[in-house]
Symmetry: C2
């Protein structure tokens, strides 16, 4: 029996509902559509495509130049995707190395971490700015509220994080 889909594989399957794509294309599609909250790499894409082909969820269509293979979703694949969609999604996981470092801040002289803190804050502020722009563009392109939920998540998340940075005790913010 085919093993259960993992979330990465399921996403690829989802994208293939809009037409066949090669591994490379899928990677770009995924980065654009879900890259902000779901990281994935080329190797994963190829691995999952191969595994799904084994299970009959996708089929490799014609082989083009330089081994380029376009995959198409099968009926079985559509069914597997639908089933994945209707299972309770797992909880999120966050891994933030900066928090780890802060948890051990007592092992460093005061002020030592201020530069890192500033750098990370800048990253989050930039992302937040990017999300604001993306929202404007999406609205201009006629997006409905339901199309904005993940963007909205990112916006709220980054807002909270930036506010957290700005509320850090002085000894962590000043070198």
């Amino acid at each position: 029996m085919p093993r259960a889909l993992n979330a990465t594989a399921a996403s690829l399957l989802g994208f293939l509902h809009d037409g066949p794509q090669s591994g490379y294309d899928l990677l770009r599609t995924a980065e654009r559509a879900i890259g902000d909250f779901w990281s994935l790499t080329r190797s994963q894409v190829y691995r999952e495509l191969a595994a799904m082909a084994d299970d009959g969820l996708v089929v490799a269509a014609e082989v083009g130049a330089r081994d380029r293979r376009a995959y198409a979703v099968t009926d079985e694949g559509r069914e597997a995707f639908r089933q994945w969609l209707s299972r309770l999604p797992a909880e999120e996981q966050i891994r933030y190395p900066l928090l780890l470092v802060l948890a051990f801040a007592r092992h460093l002289p005061p002020g030592e971490l201020a530069a890192f803190v500033a750098q990370h804050r800048a990253v989050h502020a930039a992302r937040l700015e990017g999300y604001h722009q993306a929202r404007v563009e999406a609205l201009a392109a006629g997006a409905r509220p339901v199309d904005l939920v993940t963007l909205d998540f990112g916006t709220r998340y980054e807002t909270a994080v930036v506010e957290w940075f700005d509320a850090l005790p002085a000894e962590l913010r000043e070198g």
Copy 2:
């Protein structure tokens, strides 16, 4: 030459600065201290301890009952930890399967996801409540602001997420 520490190994090393511990003890220590934003499992702990022992960053002290081995940090280990602390921490990564599912919501009839949304919201609300209590207790125990930064991160994060849930479009909140 010893390979660079990963964040998980470095954390273990950090905890060993407070005295020798066995793998099992370390796991509990870590869950208590950083478990809210850094998941780790027994297997990882033992693997990293073994690798660090190979590299001379820790030494296995006496072997107690049922192969229980307490590890102690060495001078080399202290140095490696200090170096890890002074490298720019990597960016955070978030993987939230629920967002993935929402990104593909158009493949399901409206209202289909409301139950999942409600369930996830409850998880976040409960965590938020737990953080509030933890803060009260920490303050009662004399914690300084710098001791609360990770807890504060969690609080702000969960607050933002709960607010995001409450702002979702109706078709995602109502079955």
